[in-house]
């Protein structure tokens, strides 16, 4: 009811809304903390919460009385903790970049994975795998860590710039063109991936399959440290563009009249999102639907104001991916489910439900 009223009369009870936004963000933060703790505690290897505390305290030189085995310590520190942190970062950045893309294109379907950015990034990384093997250049180990994120970033960036060029006519983004161009780029990227797969060896295909399904299973401290700055930059910087995105909602020339340097802002957003997508694709493979669903859900609750939407999407994205990964690694233990499949399986029906509900709501009013 409140939601409907707030939508019909923007400006109605502004203060109450502000408070509610604050409450929602606080609740999400609390949920995130809870999920982080739960994720650290739960896993295929049995480690009690007390033992977790004890293991982490030991790292800081504190000796607590709860005993643990070396095995539990190695599992928690070497495997589970980097994985939880990676899920946190990737989820947050997928959420926030989804929200920023939707804001930039003024279209709720502009999710990086739907309009081809993710697949373009994956294509570029695939090229590193397949062509790199054919040309047989071996990078030094330090560069090897960066080769994937860098290639994926370049791929996503090219796609994003191309898309923007194609879809923007005289400063106005044509929505239909945007979506169609996005779908075309997506198809093109997938076709090239398929072409490369055709020439890939058996071993390469295996690592490519692993990647296409998406997984956080490869998380370790080295990959985490490599991609953390690339992921943290968009998480921190995108919310600072919230006011500009709000202005862009009015239209580009209107935003320009309001004093925003729209071209610079657009460039910055595209760059940051490409960076985020590239880093994510490189370490986790294709994880879809988080960037699409999260901003939608949040918009239903907090409205279209990007000042709330962007940080909220980061929080909710992190929550969703943490929860999904928790299920992925505990449901069929000692094996695990591919997380990309899991997010799509839960995300798609939920998204459909939201769409149907929205349609009904529109039919009534």
């Amino acid at each position: 009811m409140v939601l409907a009223a707030a939508r019909l009369f923007p400006g109605w009870r502004v203060r109450a809304k502000k408070e509610r936004v604050r409450l929602v963000l606080f609740a999400l933060a609390a949920l995130l903390v809870f999920l982080v703790l739960l994720s650290i505690d739960k896993g295929a290897v049995e480690i009690s919460l007390a033992q977790c505390v004890s293991i982490i305290a030991r790292r800081f030189g504190l000796h607590l009385s709860w005993d643990f085995t070396a095995q539990q310590e190695a599992t928690l520190i070497g495997i589970r903790l980097p994985r939880v942190l990676l899920a946190l970062l990737v989820g947050a950045v997928l959420g926030v970049s989804g929200a920023a893309m939707q804001g930039l294109f003024r279209n709720p379907l502009a999710d990086p994975s739907l309009i081809g950015l993710t697949h373009s990034g994956a294509l570029a990384a695939t090229m590193v795998v397949v062509i790199g093997d054919v040309v047989s250049f071996t990078l030094p180990p330090v560069l090897q860590l960066f080769a994937f994120p860098l290639a994926a970033f370049v791929g996503a960036l090219i796609a994003a710039l191309l898309l923007y060029r194609l879809a923007t006519v005289a400063g106005q983004t044509v929505v239909a063109t945007l979506l169609l161009a996005g779908i075309a780029i997506n198809a093109l990227a997938q076709a090239f991936s398929g072409f490369l797969t055709f020439y890939a060896t058996d071993t390469q295909i295996r690592s490519l399959t692993f990647w296409k399904l998406g997984s956080l299973g490869g998380a370790n401290w080295a990959t985490l440290v490599t991609v953390a700055p690339l992921i943290l930059a968009p998480i921190v910087l995108l919310p600072s563009l919230a006011r500009a995105l709000n202005a862009l909602l009015l239209g580009e020339s209107e935003a320009g009249h309001l004093g925003f340097d729209t071209e610079r802002i657009k460039r910055r957003i595209v760059l940051l999102v490409a960076l985020a997508v590239g880093a994510c694709v490189a370490v986790t493979g294709l994880i879809g639907f988080v960037g699409l669903v999260v901003p939608h859900l949040l918009r239903l609750v907090v409205g279209p104001d990007h000042r709330a939407l962007l940080p909220g999407s980061a929080l909710l994205g992190a929550c969703l991916l943490l929860a999904a990964d928790l299920v992925a690694r505990t449901l069929v233990a000692p094996a695990e489910l591919p997380i990309g499949v899991l997010t799509a399986i839960t995300g798609a029906p939920f998204f459909l439900w939201v769409l149907l509900r929205d349609r009904k709501w529109r039919a009534i009013h």
Partner: protein, 344 residues
């Protein structure tokens, strides 16, 4: 005096509390005895906790293994080797395809397909040794397992007879069963050289096309070079007409007709799936090849192509005899010779 104090205590008790106290004391002592017996059993069970052994992995690095009593094994050929060494009881987990192709391991916990392993999942089975091939994924799994302190034996993922023998010997050494490993490795040698000897009697090298078809797959694929199948065909005295591409490709009629295979090789499962000989002949181009005209389709156990295992010698022999049935009589005397050699 202190040792008497329980007795003094008992004297001071009423009848009811006394019986409770006796029950309590007996329970404690019973569990203590149980614990002792359990510990004793454990230490006697540690026959596998022999001296530390050192093996060389695929990267040529040494790996120290103290205890091989709980093994997680990834890769069908590796699992098959563990069983062949008689150490199947030490397995605590295998990958999905091991579970699918080796009936003995069907009931063991599965750690997933070898392309999507979970380090924590593997660790939850409390292994003391993990055996896998270098092509396992995610690639970080090796580091993850190593940092957790579990000896992780990464074996080469290429498929030649030399590699199989090295792998069998390495696994045997890791398990403290070197003699048995040597025996298996020697028997592979004997079988392979026996087949080579046998093939001297064959007049021609036949063109053998391998055709595979997954469950519910509309199209069949054929094997190029660089696969287990390609190597097996070569060892069994055939040639692979599709050797100019690597890995697997979808079957196309023109390529099949151009190749003119004399035999179509399949696994039993995909042969059945394809509807037997009549079904296979309907595959693209097959009807126009000598294999199709003469209805020469050879189907062998699926297990033979799951990476080379300890049974590779027998598999190659079976293939050779199926490719050249005329050698069968000679083959029997050869087998007798080989058996005699073994006895000597």
């Amino acid at each position: 005096m202190t040792s008497l104090s329980p007795l003094l205590l008992m004297r001071a008790m009423t009848h009811k509390t006394k019986s409770k106290f006796i029950a309590f004391v007996s329970l404690i002592s019973f569990s203590a005895v149980c614990l002792l017996v359990f510990n004793a059993c454990q230490s006697t069970n540690d026959g596998t906790k022999t001296n530390q052994v050192s093996v060389t992995d695929a990267a040529g690095k040494g790996l120290a293994i103290k205890d091989s009593s709980r093994i997680v094994c990834v890769g069908t050929a590796n699992t098959e080797t563990v069983y062949a060494l008689g150490a199947g009881a030490r397995l605590v987990g295998v990958d999905n395809s091991s579970g699918e192709y080796l009936k003995e391991s069907a009931a063991l916990p599965k750690v997933g397909p070898r392309t999507a392993l979970s380090a924590e999942g593997i660790l939850s089975l409390k292994p003391t040794l993990v055996i896998l091939n270098t092509d396992a994924a995610p690639p970080q799994i090796f580091d993850q397992l190593k940092t957790s302190g579990i000896p992780t034996l990464a074996l080469p993922a290429d498929y030649t007879i030399e590699t199989v023998k090295t792998k069998v010997r390495t696994i045997a050494r890791a398990l403290g069963l070197e003699a048995k490993g040597e025996e298996i490795s020697n028997s592979i040698d004997r079988e392979i050289s026996g087949v080579a000897e046998l093939l001297k009697g064959a007049e021609t090298k036949l063109k053998v096309l391998f055709v595979g078809r997954g469950p519910n797959m509309p199209n069949a694929t054929m094997s190029g070079s660089g696969t287990t199948i390609d190597e097996m065909i070569r060892l069994a005295g055939g040639t692979n007409p599709m050797a100019d591409f690597k890995g697997f490709r979808e079957m196309t009629d023109e390529a099949v007709v151009a190749a003119q295979p004399e035999i179509i090789l399949m696994t039993e499962k995909s042969f059945e799936r394809s509807g037997g000989t009549n079904g296979v002949i309907k595959f693209p181009g097959v009807a126009l090849t000598p294999a199709g005209k003469n209805r020469r389709i050879v189907a062998v156990s699926d297990m033979y192509f799951q990476g080379f295992g300890p049974g590779v010698g027998r598999a190659v022999r079976e293939l050779a005899l199926k490719f050249h049935p005329e050698l069968n009589a000679a083959g029997k005397s050869e087998a007798i010779n080989a058996a005699n050699g073994e006895r000597r």
